[in-house]
Amino acid sequence: MIKGADPMPGEVKVNELALKIGTVNGTGSASANGLLRQAIFRMGIPVSGKNLFPSNIQGLPTWYEIRVNRHGHTARTRTFDLMVAMNPATYARDIKEVRSGGWVLHDSSWPLSGKLAREDVNFLGAPMAQLCVDHFQGDRVRILMKNIVYVGVLGALLDMDMEVVRALLERSFSKKKALLDSNFLAVQLGYDYAKEHFDCPLPIRLETMDENGDSILIDGNTAGALGCVYAGATFAAWYPITPSTSLVDGFSHFCERYRKDPETGDNRFLIVQAEDELAAAGMVVGAGWSGVRAFTATSGPGISLMGEFIGLAYYAEIPSVFFDIQRTGPSTGMPTRTQQGDIQSVIYASHGDTKHIALFPADPGECFYFAVTAFDVAERFQTPVFVVSDLDVGMNDWVVPRLEWDDAYRPDRGKVLSAEDLESMERFHRYLDTDGDGIAYRTLPGVHPKGAYFTRGSGHDQYGRYTEDEEGYTEVMERIARKIQNAATAIPEPVLRKAAEGRGAKLGMVALGGVDRAIVEAQEVLTEQGIEVDYLRIRAYPFHPSVREFLESHERTFVIEQNRDAQLRSLLITEVPFSGDRLPSVRRYGGLPLSATDVIEQVAEALDDSGSTATTMTGSVA
């Protein structure tokens, strides 16, 4: 079991708790939940907030999960110490998710059905709606303030630093006095009610610490957008799709702030909201071809539409950056739930032989840095580069170390010939491998008459000429394959986390992306249980040579991922290549972020399984 999840009765747990809030979409709970998360962060305690929202604007159930953990484990948990049940429609399922000995805070303005009672859980009723009816005017305000009331109740129950809460409210409503007053009042109403009626604080409580001194709370899309600005991207084309929309929104926001010509106020950027993802991809290809740093952000359905252009960019060798913020597929799937279902469709995107460079950030910090890397790699290798995150990383706020920037950074523009270079050349041939590194020189339109060439997605030879000849065609295809393979050591290398320093374990775990925190936590728990498992986090494709070394040096390596078909595992078997018998699969893919429990349970089950090393597919819990 996970540390701190099930304390002994009466035991006090400080800064180790998981709470969940069930509300109705469109009732304004997002700001209340954000306030809670932010206040805990400001108290210096590691925290995460995960928004489980419906694909709906108003009326459907929505949840917010807050994990507080002084050890820094902020992955999702599957059970909760405290449930704030504000939505009668989901009472039954919400109450089921509370751990034995936990608490349910509900609105006692109405009686709670006896059918929902659980002997092993404490019910705390506060008449939150009634308090709002008594103290506020107008339906809208009453509905909104009900959420702020539960912040007050929780403040008392968890012993939150209420000065921090007030300071945050002041920051939000500094220019809206009336709103500030209402919020203050609502917090106070909840707080006072709890103090008077409940035994405050609960044995699960908060205490100020100093863990977040040099950290920030940020979501991956905002961080990725910032990375695009810092990398010098000037062109974005996109089509709105959850969960990627906030990346382009963020880019637009930061461009308005940092990219205005100081004299004229003109834009040093262009963002085109395209008619669809197909057009967005085409625009990025056109802009990348012309020499600017260009990108698009999308999710699985968009990647499917972009296929033809991705192949063109690959074959015509045009730098371009694609952010894929994965959501649950196939098809429209569950648009507001997370998944790692696009690993293969991104890497092999488009028809014919194509393989693409992909980067897999595990948290918002890496979204920032990998965005910059993506542009450098795309220009250096003259190819599409994918930054693949997911809804959990992209849209939820994570605590990450403060982002750092080296002012000495200059973009790697790759092999681009200047007018002077061209002037001194006899002739320029676009696809000729003059340096033997698989990367040919390119030119930009308008620079020099000698730089002109004809870019095409149809068969071409190394001189850039149309061809239908086997030899001329194959030569270019072989070089491109070499070029992409060479990128393996130029992209972020895997991160090794050994179970015990100084020795190698027999068992391994491999994963990529946003499941990282759950795996790190699972690794610690497994170690405590005497099961040592080394962990290698892959951060990019094509795979770094150390991936092979890791697999070879471990008897069995669990491949942990969030998709049904074990896509990463298949990729490892194909690419490394490696015996599948030694790669048991751990999966959970039903739309929720991975929890350490998912990993621990499936690893333990596989190990119990008759001790056979031939264990392959353990059942997924989704």
Binding site: L226, T264, D266, G282, G286, S290, E308, L312, S458
Partner: protein
């Protein structure tokens, strides 16, 4: 091999334009289209137009989709940067390219299948964005490259090579452009260089999206009686031609006529195409009148040619977006990266 280099022989006596360049400097590789293809006549007009505009070839970008029409940019402006993309999606590539570098001159070549079937959405949105681009539709009413299926501009009554009759109404790019708010709309005929060259030049000069529909007979996959684009063929003759590998060599069709006049162009198979040039007093700035005039003509079986609509007051994509004058591609990195101090300051808000 479909790419044939044209011998470059510098001839001292060749006429030169203001840049000191000859027509040769605006030519491309040898065409591999069927002899007599209307598309080749358009290529010749494009060469003439750019020669006359005195533009340095390397400051021109030529783009195309896929089709026989899509191949033609290899046949002109060999010193210009070219981009032959994917079927129906040239407008997106052009939008990105224009977005990145607003200083160059852009010409896009498309076909009626490329623009009006697979690429209709992209065409519509490029018009709507008013991307600064000369957009030429080489309109033959068929899919030439895939051997003669109907395109969306095929007329009612057209017969496909297997005999099926098209009963769906055509999409007319000119009426489409007008209704979408295109700021420059023209129509011409591939065989009328006198009219086409100045129209192309005007389209290049136009700040915004310039749509020119050029009726361009396909000598190989032609259809039916009364077509506005192609010829009459007897059923037997049609079958014979399309089933055979051999494509008869045809001379290109030319037409020359005066403003206000109508001309009947006799096509290779004896079919007729009636073109009427807009009258001297026609006012192309009045969109609604132009629309009515063109639709009436089509109803009477006449294809109105010339500059049909122009609106020089509309803002092109960059002006609407407020982009800097300097092409984005020329902005120095120092002007783009906010630096570490700004990042530190910003992150105060993430706490």
């Amino acid at each position: 091999m479909s790419w044939i280099a044209k011998p470059r022989i510098a001839h001292p006596g060749l006429p030169k334009n203001a840049l000191g360049l000859t027509r040769r400097d605006y030519e491309g590789g040898m065409s591999t289209l069927c002899a007599g293809c209307g598309h080749d006549s358009i290529t010749a007009a494009i060469i003439e137009a750019f020669y006359g505009l005195n533009l340095p070839p390397h400051r021109i970008v030529k783009l195309s989709g896929i089709g026989c029409s899509g191949k033609t940019p290899t046949y002109f402006l060999s010193q210009a940067h070219g981009f032959n993309g994917v079927h129906g999606r040239m407008p997106a590539i052009a939008t990105g390219a224009v977005g990145a570098n607003r200083e160059l001159t852009y010409v896009g070549i498309s076909g009626d299948g490329d623009s009006l079937s697979i690429g209709l959405g992209q065409l519509a949105h490029a018009i709507r964005r008013n991307v600064d681009l000369l957009y030429v539709i080489e309109n033959n009413g068929v899919y030439g490259l895939t051997k003669g299926q109907f395109s969306a501009s095929a007329d009612v009554g057209s017969k496909a090579k297997k005999g099926a009759e098209n009963l769906q109404p055509p999409i007319d790019p000119v009426l489409l452009g007008l209704s979408l708010g295109a700021t420059f709309v023209a129509r011409s005929f591939s065989g009328d260089k006198e009219q086409l060259v100045p129209l192309l030049q005007a389209g290049v000069r136009h700040r915004g999206f310039a749509l020119i529909d050029v009726v361009s007979p396909c000598v190989t996959f032609n259809d039916h009686e009364g077509s506005t684009k192609s010829y009459i063929y007897t059923r037997e003759h049609l079958t014979e031609v399309t089933d055979a590998d051999f494509v008869e060599r045809m001379p290109e069709i030319r037409a020359s006529y005066q403003p206000g006049e109508a001309i009947d162009v006799r096509l290779h198979d004896g079919g007729m195409l009636r073109l009427r040039k807009v009258a001297e007093g026609f006012d192309p700035t009045d969109r609604d009148r132009a629309y009515a005039y063109i639709s009436e003509g089509l109803r009477d079986g006449e294809v109105l040619t010339g500059l049909l609509h122009v609106d020089e007051s509309a803002l092109e994509m960059h002006s609407v977006s407020g982009t800097v004058e300097t092409p984005l591609v020329d902005l120095p990195f120092e002007d783009l990266c906010p630096g570490s101090d700004a990042l530190d300051a910003l992150q105060q808000g993430f706490r």
